[in-house]
Amino acid sequence: MAGNSHVSASTHKPGPPLWLLLELTYRCPLHCVFCYNPVDFARTEEELGTDEWIRVLREARALGAVQLGLSGGEPLMRDDLEAIVGEAHTLGFYTNLITSGVGLNETRIKALKDAGLDHIQLSFQDSTREMNDFLSSTRTFDLKSKVAALIKKYDYPMVLNVVLHRLNIDHVEQILDMAERFGAEYVELANTQYYGWAWKNRDQLLPSRAQVQRAEETTQRFREKIGQRMRIYFVVPDYFERRPKPCMNGLGSVFLTIVPDGTALPCHAARMLPGLEFPNVREASVGSIWYDSPGFNHFRGDAWMKEPCRSCPEKAKDFGGCRCQAYLFTGDPANADPVCDLSPHHHLVEEAVASAAQRTVQEKPLLFFRDQRNSRALSSQ
């Protein structure tokens, strides 16, 4: 690291980027209102080519990366997905495809299986055709049901991910019934994380505390009924917690994301953070990006922290929470994540929750669907 004037905040060299997430494309046949992708994705210029993605895989694997997430956008929009999976498998990655299932037919799933794909996580928007199609602004429910059957046929564990929010959280029981019908082995009921499009639509998506409680109780009853056959994870929205999540295990500690144009980020959403420049794999090696770049070193260790985090005994546990959330709520990413009730800005989260509770269900939602037109409009703001 000689000659680098940006001294790492941490006193020891960080470990390898164990978790590599490739967001292969921002193209997506769905237009989900809760997507965490940046609202200005339409600005993205050329996606990396096959050779460039493969170079990233080789360099990251040589550093010690083991888990690979292939996401987007919809990764199936890339017709070189099979080639990317094949190379990743040969290199020794554990390969996870994170998909809406749109575009996954029998030919492709067979090719992916042959290429060595280890795992598929299939997302659903809701349990009914109408809601699924409304929330993703498309017609996909029947197709997803077919994909669920293909996943079983090709001997993958059936892993369903359903993003919860105010408009579907009351349907948890129907969602779990659907999962059971599909023979799901794992179901992740993941409450929306409010970044990107979800942040833009937050006032319409944030559930009330009572809704969250009811959904948790329903989930618990279902767990008791179904036993070990289906594992259900309920991820509580952090706005309802008193302590922040240990976001990314601290930026730059294990997690490396490469977005479609080759920009490397320490978390999916970090591009929004002001004052930081993030390097591009077109111009630098993965090793120099991970170990030497100011963008990755800035939030390592705890030298960047302000009070109350700096002197907090829990800072080694939660790393001050999420930098993006701190920035979105307070304008300064070095502040404590306002989810923490020790943060002087915690009232902002409480106000968001309180205002969600007061809204009536009849209110007509005004949602920004994640599509090119909206993205272009929001990019120019």
């Binding site: 888990q67 554990y94 280890d118 795992h119 794992y186």
Partner: protein, 92 residues
Amino acid sequence: MNAIVATAKPMISRGFRLQWEPAQNSHVLLYPEGMVKLNGSAGEIMKRCDGARTLAEITADLEQSFGATGLSGDVHAFVSFALEKKWLEIRT
């Protein structure tokens, strides 16, 4: 805890993969979106769980490889733990 019989043939569970990682200087167990870093003895036991060898054979092999005796209790305890964690399975 010690319900597994010596003739059982444990193997790495479906969806899991065991591999040696030079960067971590250890065996790791990979599974959907997760990883367990194994210590030396856990790695040595796991890599012998190939679904072909019985627990008794695995124990004998370990004792021979490391010039030790009386490993049976430790091997049983770890295999029980790994079965509970679903890292290993016994196909019948």
